[in-house]
């Protein structure tokens, strides 16, 4: 078992499956649980991972594979890291599962969907789309992360797929027990950790694909993780200060405008 691939895929999948679960829950609660198309979406994702994973491992030469996978990991990693840093600094609102649940439920009810025992195509389509869209990113991470972290690529993809499956089952299990949106799960922290992991592995493998020889070989990955963590923390502090200054600036100009208006009023 390749533990790095398993852990990375587990964390990434947990975030995405929590988001997908919220929509699945809406369908289950407002229409019925038979109309949940989540398992069909999971099967589609498994086929995508198997097909693309095998094709990548067998058809693409190692150096090109490292470069492509490295670049994709950097792109994904920076995207996740950016979102997490913006949320930590308060420049972007935290992902609110309860608000999304209420909003989607209102939309479903506005369509006139009601609780029924029959399989409703709308419910199936809605939950299938939610799980497929959220899961597609997971499938991509499973393939790219799996092929990059292990010397045996098939083992890497297999381990990453196991990590994703464990996360999926865990979310389903917890969701089935509580039957409310999973707002307690620290989504942003998970997103931040995954962002750091993807960016660090992407830099490492992308660099190797581009002919970079890293000092201390694989151990340099740890240096990259620590470096990206440090810079990210500094960026969060800087953005928080920037936000505070902006708020103070807005308040000041508002106060000045008010004083000016009061002076203009003839006594």
């Amino acid at each position: 078992m390749q533990w790095t691939a398993l852990t990375g895929a587990f964390l990434a999948s947990a975030v995405e499956f929590v988001e997908a679960f919220t929509i699945v829950l809406v369908v289950g609660v407002t229409i019925n649980w038979r109309s949940v198309g989540a398992f069909a979406a999971a099967a589609t994702l498994a086929i995508i991972v198997a097909t693309f994973g095998v094709a990548l491992v067998q058809l693409v030469p190692l150096d090109i594979l490292r470069l492509i996978v490295g670049v994709l990991l950097i792109l994904f990693g920076l995207k996740w890291l950016k979102k997490a840093i913006l949320r930590y600094s308060g420049l972007k609102a935290l992902h609110d599962e309860e608000a999304i649940f209420e909003e989607t439920m209102a939309e479903v009810r506005a369509r006139g969907e009601a609780t029924t025992s029959r399989i409703e195509p709308f419910g199936v389509a809605l939950s299938y789309k939610a799980v497929l869209l959220e899961g597609l990113e997971v499938a991509f991470i499973v393939i790219t992360f799996g092929t990059s972290v292990a010397s045996n690529k098939a083992l890497g993809i297999g381990s990453a797929a196991v990590g994703a499956a464990i996360a999926g089952l865990l979310v389903i299990l917890i969701g089935a027990l509580v039957r409310t949106p999973l707002k307690q799960i620290p989504e942003n922290t998970l997103k931040f950790i995954v962002g750091i992991m993807l960016t660090a592995f992407g830099t490492f493998w992308g660099g190797e694909g581009l002919g970079v020889t890293w000092p201390s070989s694989d151990a340099f990955l740890l240096v990259l993780v620590v470096l990206y963590l440090l810079v990210s923390f500094i960026l969060v502090i800087w953005l928080k200060q920037t936000k505070q200054q902006r708020v103070i600036g807005v308040a000041k100009s508002y106060k000045e405008q008010n004083t000016q208006k009061q002076q203009e009023i003839p006594s």
């Binding site: 792109l75 920076l78 840093i85 420049l91 972007k92 992308g206 660099g207 970079v212």
Partner: protein
């Protein structure tokens, strides 16, 4: 066109990140393949790390200083 946009949004969804990473790759490929730039090969790892951090700072700065 819609498919291209969907793929772009799915993979990255941020033009600074996309252009920055692609530009970095092009520069590193040139360093790795042109003999004129051979002396820079020893620092290509450093260039990659600095570029990744610069891209992150650039995209966050845009969000922080945008008028919205």
């Amino acid at each position: 066109m819609n498919i291209m946009k969907a793929i772009y949004n799915f993979i990255v969804g941020d033009i600074i990140i996309l252009v920055g990473v692609l530009l970095t790759v092009v520069i590193l490929v040139l360093i790795n393949n042109l003999s004129v730039l051979a002396p820079l090969r020893i620092v290509s790892g450093g260039i990659l790390i600095v570029a990744v951090l610069a891209i992150l700072i650039a995209t966050l700065s845009r969000e922080a200083f945008s008028k919205h």
